[in-house]
Symmetry: C2
Subunit: 224 residues, 2 copies
DNA sequence: CGAATGGCGTTTGTATACAATAAGCTGCCT
DNA sequence: AGGCAGCTTATTGTATACAAACGCCATTCG
């Protein structure tokens, strides 16, 4: 994508994710265009794209609004993600090359280093984690599957999820990755799929728990 | 969507599906705009949309081309579709209402009538089939899932698939739908998912067989 | 003779003006 | 007072002009 379009897309997306654009609020193309310093044309492109990614929705008369996520929506997205990633893992187990496997080991090694540092290095954890999963997707060798997973893997939500992991959860991730590697080594697709399902679903529950704590804290603050 | 955009989208899509725009050939926005009788703006929108649906792909320098499907690509799409529809069936089995169930029965009844006519009425079969599956999706109550399934359910491929079904395959579809209804009646999600998986995978193999026959006929014609 | 480079033509990207549509308001009628 | 009609304004849709990027071809230089 080109410069203005990219800028608009990233800008709008980050405004949504940061809460600068409130969930449920209306979005006007011209206002965004000014904020992004571009014309309406690339803004329109971005909105269409964000719409397919479900960050934005349009009402029956074509007005755009920031999507208001419910916990159920998130659960839905995670459920689909778990299914798709498990499928990817299964495919990957049957196709993965020595080189890809080596790279995955490397990523998981770096991930462990990030945890084992005196203070856990969360950004590094996140980056290694991303590369680890990206390699699986590469080994799965299905462009369609990759596209779909992108749609359901809201990087931002993931990111917030990881930030909220406690050390225990980070360690679990590392061990699950290790088990995945063994399953891959054995070319056992069903095993890989099962480990992956567990991996994603645990992540969701860790997120949901942190989220509900958040909500309770917020409620408490409001009550005070 | 609005008039010009709609027109462009449908026109381009049907030109791709009919083969009027050959797989692999480059697409120029202005040429399409003329063909559709609109300006480039709605054409661009349509191309972006068709790109996410994988009917069109763009090279690294933003030129657009009609996607050239391989049998493997189709297999991929069907595999994902089978997985997603099975998931939908499972969710539907746990949520479906009396009314939705009644409508499904009705659609499947009409489908049977279309088969039982003196000569099978394929368009009516296709329509009832579509409504049957749409009702499952409605009962599954996941907008995300519905969106994803749309992406992987190339109506046209489906349509050609159904056209190539022999009567035996149409009857099988009817019976599989019947079994799905029983699974739904029993609120047995796993049963429903299993039947659905079988249903979609059978459809794929029926298609692949017909397709390979086609290919052989074409080859024979070329050789002659 | 081959490879690099520069310019030209083609194609896409962006901005902007104008058209169409829908929402909201105002005032009138009941 | 309530609701509807018609107008006004806000917002999106479409067309078009211009800018930028890219590929292709020819020409030149090693």
């Amino acid at each position: 994508m080109s410069r203005a379009s990219d800028r608009a897309y990233n800008h709008i997306r980050s405004m949504i994710l940061s809460g600068e654009l409130q969930p449920g609020s209306q979005i006007r193309e011209e206002a965004l265009a000014e904020l992004c310093g571009v014309s309406r044309t690339p803004v329109r492109d971005s909105l269409r794209r964000l719409e397919t990614e479900m960050f934005v929705r349009r009402n029956e008369s074509q007005r755009s609004f920031v999507t208001n996520w419910s916990l159920d929506d998130l659960k839905d997205a995670f459920e689909l993600r778990a299914m798709l990633e498990a499928h990817a893992a299964k495919r990957a187990a049957l196709r993965i090359t020595r080189d890809q496997l080596a790279r995955m080991r490397d990523h998981n090694g770096k991930l462990k280093q990030a945890i084992d540092a005196s203070r856990p290095d969360v950004p590094r954890f996140i980056d290694s984690n991303r590369l680890f999963h990206a390699t699986i997707l590469e080994a799965a060798a299905s462009e369609r599957l990759a596209n779909m997973l992108m749609q359901v893997t809201e990087q931002p939500v993931i990111l917030r999820t990881a930030r909220q992991y406690d050390l225990e959860n980070l360690r679990r991730s590392h061990h699950e990755h290790d088990e995945l590697l063994i399953a891959f080594d054995n070319r056992d697709g069903d095993w890989a799929a099962a480990v992956m399902t567990a991996h994603i679903r645990r992540a969701f529950h860790a997120y949901a728990e942190a989220h509900s704590t958040d909500t309770e804290i917020r409620k408490a603050n409001l009550a005070a």
